[in-house]
Subunit: 273 residues, 2 copies
Protein backbone atom coordinates (compact mmCIF):
# COMPACT_ATOMS: atom_id res chain seq x y z
CA UNK A 1 0.00 0.00 0.00
CA UNK A 2 2.21 2.84 -1.21
CA UNK A 3 1.33 6.11 0.47
CA UNK A 4 -0.65 4.72 3.39
CA UNK A 5 0.79 5.20 6.87
CA UNK A 6 -0.68 3.96 10.14
CA UNK A 7 -0.90 6.67 12.75
CA UNK A 8 -0.35 4.67 15.87
CA UNK A 9 -3.29 6.14 17.82
CA UNK A 10 -5.57 4.25 15.42
CA UNK A 11 -4.42 0.98 17.02
CA UNK A 12 -4.25 2.38 20.53
CA UNK A 13 -4.36 -1.07 22.13
CA UNK A 14 -1.13 -2.11 20.43
CA UNK A 15 2.32 -1.45 21.89
CA UNK A 16 4.86 0.05 19.51
CA UNK A 17 6.45 -3.35 18.69
CA UNK A 18 2.99 -4.78 18.01
CA UNK A 19 2.12 -1.86 15.72
CA UNK A 20 5.41 -2.26 13.83
CA UNK A 21 4.78 -5.97 13.36
CA UNK A 22 1.17 -5.31 12.36
CA UNK A 23 2.23 -2.86 9.64
CA UNK A 24 4.87 -5.20 8.31
CA UNK A 25 2.37 -8.07 8.11
CA UNK A 26 -0.27 -5.89 6.43
CA UNK A 27 2.15 -4.40 3.91
CA UNK A 28 1.81 -0.87 5.28
CA UNK A 29 5.16 0.89 4.84
CA UNK A 30 4.74 4.03 6.96
CA UNK A 31 3.94 4.63 10.62
CA UNK A 32 3.20 7.78 12.62
CA UNK A 33 4.44 7.29 16.18
CA UNK A 34 3.15 8.70 19.47
CA UNK A 35 5.54 9.82 22.14
CA UNK A 36 3.90 7.91 24.99
CA UNK A 37 4.22 4.65 23.05
CA UNK A 38 7.78 5.50 22.05
CA UNK A 39 8.62 6.17 25.71
CA UNK A 40 7.29 2.75 26.75
CA UNK A 41 9.58 1.07 24.24
CA UNK A 42 12.53 3.45 24.45
CA UNK A 43 13.49 5.82 21.64
CA UNK A 44 16.54 3.92 20.39
CA UNK A 45 14.76 0.58 20.38
CA UNK A 46 11.68 2.08 18.69
CA UNK A 47 13.90 3.55 15.97
CA UNK A 48 15.65 0.21 15.43
CA UNK A 49 12.37 -1.75 15.30
CA UNK A 50 11.01 0.56 12.58
CA UNK A 51 14.26 0.45 10.58
CA UNK A 52 14.55 -3.31 10.82
CA UNK A 53 10.95 -3.72 9.63
CA UNK A 54 11.58 -1.40 6.67
CA UNK A 55 9.06 1.10 8.01
CA UNK A 56 9.34 4.84 7.45
CA UNK A 57 8.36 6.95 10.44
CA UNK A 58 6.05 9.47 8.76
CA UNK A 59 5.64 11.70 11.83
CA UNK A 60 5.98 11.95 15.58
CA UNK A 61 2.89 13.00 17.56
CA UNK A 62 3.16 15.30 19.29
CA UNK A 63 4.75 18.43 20.59
CA UNK A 64 3.02 21.71 21.24
CA UNK A 65 0.94 22.96 24.19
CA UNK A 66 2.59 26.33 23.86
CA UNK A 67 -0.06 28.57 25.45
CA UNK A 68 1.05 28.60 29.09
CA UNK A 69 0.51 32.01 30.68
CA UNK A 70 3.37 31.80 33.22
CA UNK A 71 7.15 31.93 32.69
CA UNK A 72 7.48 28.49 34.35
CA UNK A 73 4.81 27.08 32.05
CA UNK A 74 6.60 28.52 29.02
CA UNK A 75 9.94 27.11 30.13
CA UNK A 76 8.43 23.67 30.67
CA UNK A 77 6.80 23.77 27.24
CA UNK A 78 10.08 24.78 25.60
CA UNK A 79 12.00 21.99 27.33
CA UNK A 80 9.41 19.39 26.39
CA UNK A 81 9.34 20.47 22.76
CA UNK A 82 13.12 20.51 22.49
CA UNK A 83 13.10 16.95 23.73
CA UNK A 84 10.38 16.02 21.24
CA UNK A 85 12.50 17.47 18.41
CA UNK A 86 15.45 15.30 19.44
CA UNK A 87 13.22 12.24 19.70
CA UNK A 88 11.88 12.88 16.20
CA UNK A 89 15.42 13.14 14.84
CA UNK A 90 16.47 9.93 16.57
CA UNK A 91 13.41 8.13 15.21
CA UNK A 92 14.39 9.22 11.71
CA UNK A 93 11.32 11.32 10.96
CA UNK A 94 11.48 14.89 9.69
CA UNK A 95 8.01 15.78 11.02
CA UNK A 96 6.98 16.71 14.56
CA UNK A 97 3.24 17.37 14.81
CA UNK A 98 2.31 20.29 17.10
CA UNK A 99 -1.03 20.54 18.85
CA UNK A 100 -0.64 24.08 20.10
CA UNK A 101 -2.77 24.00 23.27
CA UNK A 102 -5.97 25.70 24.41
CA UNK A 103 -6.69 28.69 26.62
CA UNK A 104 -4.72 28.74 29.87
CA UNK A 105 -6.82 27.73 32.89
CA UNK A 106 -9.37 30.45 33.68
CA UNK A 107 -8.29 32.65 30.77
CA UNK A 108 -10.59 34.15 28.13
CA UNK A 109 -7.71 35.84 26.30
CA UNK A 110 -7.76 34.04 22.95
CA UNK A 111 -5.59 36.60 21.10
CA UNK A 112 -3.09 36.36 23.97
CA UNK A 113 -2.92 32.57 23.75
CA UNK A 114 -2.44 32.79 20.00
CA UNK A 115 0.37 35.31 20.45
CA UNK A 116 2.05 32.95 22.93
CA UNK A 117 2.08 30.22 20.27
CA UNK A 118 3.76 32.55 17.77
CA UNK A 119 6.36 33.54 20.39
CA UNK A 120 7.37 29.99 21.29
CA UNK A 121 7.42 28.91 17.66
CA UNK A 122 10.07 31.57 17.15
CA UNK A 123 12.20 29.95 19.83
CA UNK A 124 11.65 26.38 18.65
CA UNK A 125 11.95 26.70 14.89
CA UNK A 126 15.74 27.19 14.64
CA UNK A 127 16.32 24.23 17.00
CA UNK A 128 14.06 22.08 14.85
CA UNK A 129 16.03 23.20 11.80
CA UNK A 130 19.29 22.18 13.50
CA UNK A 131 17.96 18.65 13.93
CA UNK A 132 16.51 18.39 10.43
CA UNK A 133 13.00 18.25 11.87
CA UNK A 134 10.05 20.31 10.69
CA UNK A 135 7.46 21.59 13.16
CA UNK A 136 4.05 20.75 11.71
CA UNK A 137 1.37 23.06 13.13
CA UNK A 138 -1.92 21.20 13.28
CA UNK A 139 -5.06 23.31 13.11
CA UNK A 140 -7.66 21.51 15.18
CA UNK A 141 -11.41 21.66 14.62
CA UNK A 142 -12.83 24.83 16.20
CA UNK A 143 -14.71 22.72 18.73
CA UNK A 144 -11.34 22.16 20.43
CA UNK A 145 -10.38 25.84 20.52
CA UNK A 146 -10.89 26.39 24.26
CA UNK A 147 -9.29 23.23 25.58
CA UNK A 148 -6.83 21.87 23.06
CA UNK A 149 -5.73 24.10 20.18
CA UNK A 150 -6.20 27.82 19.66
CA UNK A 151 -5.11 27.29 16.06
CA UNK A 152 -8.40 26.54 14.34
CA UNK A 153 -7.92 26.93 10.58
CA UNK A 154 -5.36 26.09 7.95
CA UNK A 155 -5.12 29.77 7.02
CA UNK A 156 -4.25 30.67 10.60
CA UNK A 157 -1.62 27.90 10.75
CA UNK A 158 -0.08 29.19 7.53
CA UNK A 159 -0.01 32.74 8.90
CA UNK A 160 1.89 31.39 11.92
CA UNK A 161 4.28 29.40 9.72
CA UNK A 162 4.99 32.21 7.27
CA UNK A 163 7.84 33.97 9.14
CA UNK A 164 9.90 30.74 9.12
CA UNK A 165 11.58 28.77 6.36
CA UNK A 166 9.31 26.01 5.02
CA UNK A 167 12.01 23.54 6.05
CA UNK A 168 11.48 24.53 9.71
CA UNK A 169 7.74 25.11 10.06
CA UNK A 170 4.94 23.47 8.09
CA UNK A 171 1.31 22.55 8.64
CA UNK A 172 -0.79 19.43 9.03
CA UNK A 173 -3.83 18.88 6.83
CA UNK A 174 -6.12 16.58 8.83
CA UNK A 175 -9.42 15.88 7.09
CA UNK A 176 -11.41 15.78 10.34
CA UNK A 177 -10.25 19.18 11.45
CA UNK A 178 -10.43 21.11 8.19
CA UNK A 179 -13.11 19.53 5.96
CA UNK A 180 -15.78 22.15 6.84
CA UNK A 181 -13.59 25.19 6.03
CA UNK A 182 -15.04 27.40 3.27
CA UNK A 183 -11.45 28.48 2.47
CA UNK A 184 -10.11 24.93 2.30
CA UNK A 185 -9.24 24.75 -1.41
CA UNK A 186 -7.60 28.15 -1.40
CA UNK A 187 -5.59 27.52 1.78
CA UNK A 188 -4.38 24.08 0.65
CA UNK A 189 -3.22 25.66 -2.61
CA UNK A 190 -1.51 28.39 -0.60
CA UNK A 191 0.12 25.80 1.67
CA UNK A 192 2.06 24.11 -1.14
CA UNK A 193 5.37 22.87 0.21
CA UNK A 194 4.31 23.79 3.78
CA UNK A 195 2.17 20.65 3.91
CA UNK A 196 4.25 18.56 6.29
CA UNK A 197 1.70 15.89 7.11
CA UNK A 198 -1.59 14.71 5.71
CA UNK A 199 -3.91 12.80 8.01
CA UNK A 200 -7.26 11.21 7.36
CA UNK A 201 -10.32 10.10 9.23
CA UNK A 202 -14.00 10.79 8.67
CA UNK A 203 -16.50 13.15 10.33
CA UNK A 204 -19.26 10.96 11.74
CA UNK A 205 -22.39 11.87 13.69
CA UNK A 206 -23.64 11.97 16.34
CA UNK A 207 -20.67 13.26 18.32
CA UNK A 208 -19.93 10.85 21.19
CA UNK A 209 -19.94 11.82 24.88
CA UNK A 210 -16.20 12.44 24.61
CA UNK A 211 -16.08 14.75 21.58
CA UNK A 212 -12.46 13.80 20.98
CA UNK A 213 -13.48 10.28 19.99
CA UNK A 214 -16.02 11.03 17.27
CA UNK A 215 -13.84 10.09 14.32
CA UNK A 216 -14.64 7.35 11.88
CA UNK A 217 -13.00 5.17 9.27
CA UNK A 218 -12.55 6.85 5.91
CA UNK A 219 -15.87 6.41 4.11
CA UNK A 220 -18.09 6.15 7.18
CA UNK A 221 -18.97 9.84 7.35
CA UNK A 222 -19.51 13.09 5.51
CA UNK A 223 -16.11 13.93 4.02
CA UNK A 224 -15.41 13.84 0.29
CA UNK A 225 -11.92 12.31 0.36
CA UNK A 226 -11.37 12.28 -3.41
CA UNK A 227 -11.97 16.02 -3.55
CA UNK A 228 -9.63 16.65 -0.62
CA UNK A 229 -6.98 14.37 -2.09
CA UNK A 230 -7.13 16.21 -5.41
CA UNK A 231 -6.50 19.52 -3.61
CA UNK A 232 -3.57 18.13 -1.64
CA UNK A 233 -2.05 16.51 -4.72
CA UNK A 234 -2.49 19.71 -6.75
CA UNK A 235 -0.58 21.57 -4.01
CA UNK A 236 2.38 19.31 -4.77
CA UNK A 237 2.19 16.99 -1.78
CA UNK A 238 3.66 13.57 -2.46
CA UNK A 239 4.24 12.38 1.11
CA UNK A 240 2.55 9.84 3.35
CA UNK A 241 -1.16 9.63 3.95
CA UNK A 242 -1.57 8.85 7.63
CA UNK A 243 -4.80 7.42 8.94
CA UNK A 244 -5.35 8.76 12.45
CA UNK A 245 -8.57 7.74 14.18
CA UNK A 246 -9.72 8.44 17.72
CA UNK A 247 -12.70 6.14 18.26
CA UNK A 248 -13.37 3.82 21.17
CA UNK A 249 -15.12 1.21 19.06
CA UNK A 250 -12.20 1.06 16.64
CA UNK A 251 -9.79 0.93 19.58
CA UNK A 252 -11.74 -2.10 20.86
CA UNK A 253 -11.29 -3.88 17.51
CA UNK A 254 -8.29 -6.22 16.99
CA UNK A 255 -5.49 -4.25 15.33
CA UNK A 256 -5.05 -6.58 12.37
CA UNK A 257 -8.72 -6.19 11.50
CA UNK A 258 -8.43 -2.39 11.75
CA UNK A 259 -5.47 -2.45 9.35
CA UNK A 260 -7.45 -4.51 6.85
CA UNK A 261 -10.22 -1.89 7.01
CA UNK A 262 -7.69 0.92 6.53
CA UNK A 263 -6.34 -0.68 3.38
CA UNK A 264 -9.79 -1.43 2.00
CA UNK A 265 -11.00 2.13 2.63
CA UNK A 266 -7.79 3.63 1.25
CA UNK A 267 -8.40 1.75 -2.00
CA UNK A 268 -12.07 2.66 -2.14
CA UNK A 269 -11.99 6.32 -1.15
CA UNK A 270 -8.49 7.74 -1.49
CA UNK A 271 -5.97 6.09 -3.77
CA UNK A 272 -7.26 3.29 -5.96
CA UNK A 273 -3.99 1.39 -6.35
Amino acid sequence: MRGLSLNQITTKGWTLPEAVRGCAEAGIEGIGLWRDKVAETGVARAAKLCRDAGLTVSSLCRGGFLTAATPEGRRAALADNLQAIEEAAELGTDTLVLVVGGLPEGSRDLPGARAAVADLLGELAPHAGDFGVRLAIEPLHPMFCADRAVVSTLGQALDLAEPFPASQVGVVVDSYHVWWDPQLAQQIARAGERIAAYQLCDWTLPLPADALLGRGHVGDGHIDFRALDAMVAAAGYTGWIEVEIFNQQIWDTPGAETLRTLIERHRAHVAAL
Copy 2:
Protein backbone atom coordinates in the same frame (compact mmCIF):
# COMPACT_ATOMS: atom_id res chain seq x y z
CA MET B 1 -32.40 46.82 30.58
CA ARG B 2 -31.91 48.72 27.32
CA GLY B 3 -30.40 46.57 24.65
CA LEU B 4 -31.13 43.16 26.15
CA SER B 5 -33.58 40.92 24.31
CA LEU B 6 -34.76 37.48 25.38
CA ASN B 7 -34.47 34.93 22.63
CA GLN B 8 -37.41 32.73 23.40
CA ILE B 9 -35.53 29.43 23.16
CA THR B 10 -33.73 30.42 26.37
CA THR B 11 -37.02 29.94 28.25
CA LYS B 12 -38.11 26.93 26.25
CA GLY B 13 -40.60 25.81 28.89
CA TRP B 14 -42.62 29.03 28.55
CA THR B 15 -45.40 29.53 26.02
CA LEU B 16 -45.25 32.75 24.05
CA PRO B 17 -47.75 34.56 26.33
CA GLU B 18 -45.71 33.45 29.37
CA ALA B 19 -42.48 34.70 27.79
CA VAL B 20 -44.08 38.05 26.94
CA ARG B 21 -45.36 38.42 30.51
CA GLY B 22 -41.98 37.35 31.91
CA CYS B 23 -40.14 39.99 29.88
CA ALA B 24 -42.59 42.70 30.88
CA GLU B 25 -42.21 41.80 34.56
CA ALA B 26 -38.42 41.68 34.34
CA GLY B 27 -38.13 44.95 32.45
CA ILE B 28 -36.70 43.32 29.32
CA GLU B 29 -37.92 45.27 26.30
CA GLY B 30 -37.01 43.00 23.38
CA ILE B 31 -37.91 39.43 22.48
CA GLY B 32 -36.72 37.08 19.74
CA LEU B 33 -39.57 34.75 18.80
CA TRP B 34 -39.53 31.16 17.52
CA ARG B 35 -41.90 30.04 14.83
CA ASP B 36 -43.13 26.93 16.66
CA LYS B 37 -44.11 29.01 19.70
CA VAL B 38 -45.69 31.65 17.46
CA ALA B 39 -47.71 28.92 15.70
CA GLU B 40 -49.07 27.63 19.04
CA THR B 41 -50.34 31.10 19.89
CA GLY B 42 -51.29 32.26 16.40
CA VAL B 43 -49.36 34.94 14.51
CA ALA B 44 -51.88 37.77 14.92
CA ARG B 45 -52.37 37.12 18.63
CA ALA B 46 -48.60 36.83 19.21
CA ALA B 47 -48.07 40.16 17.45
CA LYS B 48 -50.79 41.81 19.56
CA LEU B 49 -49.44 40.38 22.83
CA CYS B 50 -45.98 41.79 22.11
CA ARG B 51 -47.35 45.18 21.05
CA ASP B 52 -49.63 45.45 24.07
CA ALA B 53 -46.73 44.62 26.40
CA GLY B 54 -44.54 47.27 24.74
CA LEU B 55 -42.10 44.59 23.56
CA THR B 56 -40.08 44.92 20.37
CA VAL B 57 -39.73 41.68 18.41
CA SER B 58 -35.98 41.69 17.74
CA SER B 59 -36.00 38.69 15.38
CA LEU B 60 -37.94 35.68 14.23
CA CYS B 61 -36.18 32.30 14.40
CA ARG B 62 -35.99 30.76 11.96
CA GLY B 63 -36.12 30.21 8.25
CA GLY B 64 -33.49 28.49 6.16
CA PHE B 65 -32.82 24.79 5.48
CA LEU B 66 -32.07 25.64 1.88
CA THR B 67 -29.80 22.72 0.92
CA ALA B 68 -32.33 20.20 -0.42
CA ALA B 69 -30.96 18.29 -3.39
CA THR B 70 -34.30 17.63 -5.14
CA PRO B 71 -36.64 20.04 -6.96
CA GLU B 72 -39.47 19.10 -4.55
CA GLY B 73 -37.21 19.80 -1.57
CA ARG B 74 -36.25 23.17 -3.01
CA ARG B 75 -39.88 24.09 -3.68
CA ALA B 76 -40.88 23.13 -0.14
CA ALA B 77 -37.99 25.19 1.31
CA LEU B 78 -38.99 28.20 -0.78
CA ALA B 79 -42.62 27.98 0.29
CA ASP B 80 -41.71 27.64 3.95
CA ASN B 81 -39.34 30.60 3.84
CA LEU B 82 -41.85 32.79 2.03
CA GLN B 83 -44.29 32.02 4.81
CA ALA B 84 -41.66 32.81 7.43
CA ILE B 85 -41.01 36.19 5.78
CA GLU B 86 -44.71 37.03 5.98
CA GLU B 87 -44.87 35.91 9.61
CA ALA B 88 -41.90 38.14 10.45
CA ALA B 89 -43.60 41.11 8.81
CA GLU B 90 -46.86 40.47 10.66
CA LEU B 91 -44.97 40.17 13.96
CA GLY B 92 -43.41 43.55 13.32
CA THR B 93 -39.78 42.41 13.17
CA ASP B 94 -37.43 43.28 10.32
CA THR B 95 -35.16 40.28 10.96
CA LEU B 96 -35.66 36.64 9.90
CA VAL B 97 -32.80 34.42 11.11
CA LEU B 98 -31.74 31.76 8.59
CA VAL B 99 -30.10 28.49 9.61
CA VAL B 100 -29.15 27.34 6.15
CA GLY B 101 -29.21 23.56 6.58
CA GLY B 102 -26.62 20.78 6.44
CA LEU B 103 -25.62 18.27 3.78
CA PRO B 104 -28.56 16.54 2.09
CA GLU B 105 -29.07 12.95 3.31
CA GLY B 106 -26.24 10.73 2.08
CA SER B 107 -24.43 13.58 0.30
CA ARG B 108 -20.77 14.50 0.69
CA ASP B 109 -21.03 17.41 -1.74
CA LEU B 110 -20.32 20.38 0.52
CA PRO B 111 -19.62 22.86 -2.31
CA GLY B 112 -22.90 21.75 -3.92
CA ALA B 113 -24.88 22.34 -0.74
CA ARG B 114 -23.30 25.76 -0.36
CA ALA B 115 -24.18 26.63 -3.94
CA ALA B 116 -27.79 25.60 -3.29
CA VAL B 117 -27.95 28.10 -0.42
CA ALA B 118 -26.71 30.90 -2.68
CA ASP B 119 -29.30 29.95 -5.33
CA LEU B 120 -32.29 30.00 -3.00
CA LEU B 121 -31.12 33.21 -1.33
CA GLY B 122 -31.35 34.79 -4.76
CA GLU B 123 -34.99 33.76 -4.99
CA LEU B 124 -35.90 34.78 -1.44
CA ALA B 125 -34.13 38.12 -1.05
CA PRO B 126 -36.42 40.24 -3.24
CA HIS B 127 -39.51 38.80 -1.51
CA ALA B 128 -38.00 39.64 1.87
CA GLY B 129 -37.32 43.15 0.62
CA ASP B 130 -40.97 43.50 -0.48
CA PHE B 131 -42.09 42.74 3.08
CA GLY B 132 -39.50 44.98 4.76
CA VAL B 133 -37.80 41.93 6.26
CA ARG B 134 -34.09 41.23 6.18
CA LEU B 135 -32.78 37.67 5.82
CA ALA B 136 -30.11 37.20 8.49
CA ILE B 137 -27.72 34.40 7.52
CA GLU B 138 -26.43 32.72 10.66
CA PRO B 139 -23.05 31.05 10.41
CA LEU B 140 -23.16 28.08 12.77
CA HIS B 141 -20.18 26.60 14.58
CA PRO B 142 -18.29 24.25 12.22
CA MET B 143 -19.28 21.29 14.40
CA PHE B 144 -22.77 21.66 12.89
CA CYS B 145 -21.57 21.77 9.27
CA ALA B 146 -22.74 18.28 8.26
CA ASP B 147 -26.15 18.25 9.90
CA ARG B 148 -27.38 21.81 10.40
CA ALA B 149 -25.59 24.63 8.58
CA VAL B 150 -23.07 24.50 5.75
CA VAL B 151 -22.38 28.19 6.44
CA SER B 152 -19.62 28.00 9.04
CA THR B 153 -17.93 31.41 9.28
CA LEU B 154 -18.92 35.04 9.30
CA GLY B 155 -16.70 35.65 6.27
CA GLN B 156 -18.57 32.99 4.32
CA ALA B 157 -21.94 34.44 5.37
CA LEU B 158 -20.80 37.89 4.20
CA ASP B 159 -19.66 36.45 0.86
CA LEU B 160 -23.16 34.99 0.45
CA ALA B 161 -24.81 38.27 1.46
CA GLU B 162 -22.67 40.49 -0.77
CA PRO B 163 -24.67 40.23 -4.02
CA PHE B 164 -27.77 41.60 -2.28
CA PRO B 165 -28.67 44.99 -0.82
CA ALA B 166 -27.86 45.17 2.90
CA SER B 167 -31.55 45.91 3.48
CA GLN B 168 -32.43 42.45 2.11
CA VAL B 169 -29.65 40.17 3.36
CA GLY B 170 -27.58 40.50 6.52
CA VAL B 171 -25.77 38.23 8.93
CA VAL B 172 -26.10 37.06 12.52
CA VAL B 173 -23.20 37.40 14.92
CA ASP B 174 -23.74 34.70 17.55
CA SER B 175 -20.94 34.51 20.10
CA TYR B 176 -21.16 30.73 20.49
CA HIS B 177 -20.75 30.10 16.79
CA VAL B 178 -18.03 32.62 15.93
CA TRP B 179 -15.89 33.25 19.03
CA TRP B 180 -13.08 30.89 17.91
CA ASP B 181 -12.65 32.46 14.45
CA PRO B 182 -9.15 33.87 13.87
CA GLN B 183 -10.72 36.32 11.39
CA LEU B 184 -13.43 37.46 13.78
CA ALA B 185 -12.33 41.07 14.30
CA GLN B 186 -11.72 41.64 10.63
CA GLN B 187 -15.01 40.04 9.51
CA ILE B 188 -17.10 41.92 12.08
CA ALA B 189 -15.53 45.16 10.88
CA ARG B 190 -16.27 44.12 7.30
CA ALA B 191 -19.88 43.25 8.23
CA GLY B 192 -20.75 46.79 9.33
CA GLU B 193 -24.40 47.48 8.50
CA ARG B 194 -24.89 43.82 7.46
CA ILE B 195 -25.09 42.86 11.14
CA ALA B 196 -28.79 42.10 11.40
CA ALA B 197 -28.78 40.29 14.74
CA TYR B 198 -26.39 39.87 17.63
CA GLN B 199 -26.87 36.86 19.87
CA LEU B 200 -25.03 35.81 22.99
CA CYS B 201 -24.35 32.71 25.02
CA ASP B 202 -21.12 31.21 26.31
CA TRP B 203 -18.94 28.31 25.19
CA THR B 204 -18.82 25.85 28.07
CA LEU B 205 -17.10 22.49 28.38
CA PRO B 206 -17.44 19.58 28.34
CA LEU B 207 -19.80 19.32 25.39
CA PRO B 208 -22.97 17.47 26.47
CA ALA B 209 -24.24 14.25 24.87
CA ASP B 210 -26.41 16.39 22.59
CA ALA B 211 -23.83 18.83 21.22
CA LEU B 212 -26.60 21.31 20.40
CA LEU B 213 -27.23 21.92 24.09
CA GLY B 214 -23.74 22.84 25.26
CA ARG B 215 -24.34 26.57 25.64
CA GLY B 216 -24.02 28.44 28.87
CA HIS B 217 -25.05 31.69 30.49
CA VAL B 218 -22.87 34.64 29.56
CA GLY B 219 -19.90 34.49 31.91
CA ASP B 220 -19.95 30.74 32.56
CA GLY B 221 -17.49 29.84 29.83
CA HIS B 222 -14.54 30.83 27.70
CA ILE B 223 -15.77 33.80 25.65
CA ASP B 224 -14.50 37.34 26.19
CA PHE B 225 -17.79 39.24 25.79
CA ARG B 226 -16.38 42.71 26.36
CA ALA B 227 -13.94 42.21 23.49
CA LEU B 228 -16.68 40.88 21.21
CA ASP B 229 -19.01 43.70 22.17
CA ALA B 230 -16.35 46.29 21.39
CA MET B 231 -15.93 44.81 17.89
CA VAL B 232 -19.67 44.78 17.22
CA ALA B 233 -20.10 48.34 18.53
CA ALA B 234 -17.14 49.55 16.45
CA ALA B 235 -18.83 48.06 13.38
CA GLY B 236 -21.72 50.46 14.03
CA TYR B 237 -24.24 47.99 15.45
CA THR B 238 -26.74 49.63 17.80
CA GLY B 239 -29.50 47.01 17.78
CA TRP B 240 -30.71 44.42 20.25
CA ILE B 241 -28.49 42.01 22.11
CA GLU B 242 -30.39 38.74 22.19
CA VAL B 243 -29.49 36.06 24.68
CA GLU B 244 -30.10 32.68 23.06
CA ILE B 245 -29.21 29.63 25.13
CA PHE B 246 -29.75 25.96 24.32
CA ASN B 247 -29.11 24.15 27.60
CA GLN B 248 -31.25 21.50 29.27
CA GLN B 249 -30.37 22.62 32.79
CA ILE B 250 -31.34 26.21 32.02
CA TRP B 251 -34.52 24.96 30.34
CA ASP B 252 -35.33 23.11 33.58
CA THR B 253 -34.96 26.35 35.60
CA PRO B 254 -38.04 28.56 36.24
CA GLY B 255 -38.19 31.27 33.58
CA ALA B 256 -38.28 34.21 35.98
CA GLU B 257 -35.06 32.99 37.59
CA THR B 258 -33.41 32.61 34.17
CA LEU B 259 -34.37 36.19 33.30
CA ARG B 260 -32.83 37.46 36.54
CA THR B 261 -29.60 35.66 35.62
CA LEU B 262 -29.68 37.14 32.10
CA ILE B 263 -29.94 40.67 33.48
CA GLU B 264 -27.23 40.10 36.08
CA ARG B 265 -24.82 38.64 33.50
CA HIS B 266 -25.64 41.35 30.98
CA ARG B 267 -24.63 43.96 33.57
CA ALA B 268 -21.48 42.10 34.60
CA HIS B 269 -20.13 40.97 31.23
CA VAL B 270 -21.68 42.96 28.40
CA ALA B 271 -23.21 46.37 29.05
CA ALA B 272 -22.72 47.79 32.54
CA LEU B 273 -25.82 49.99 32.62
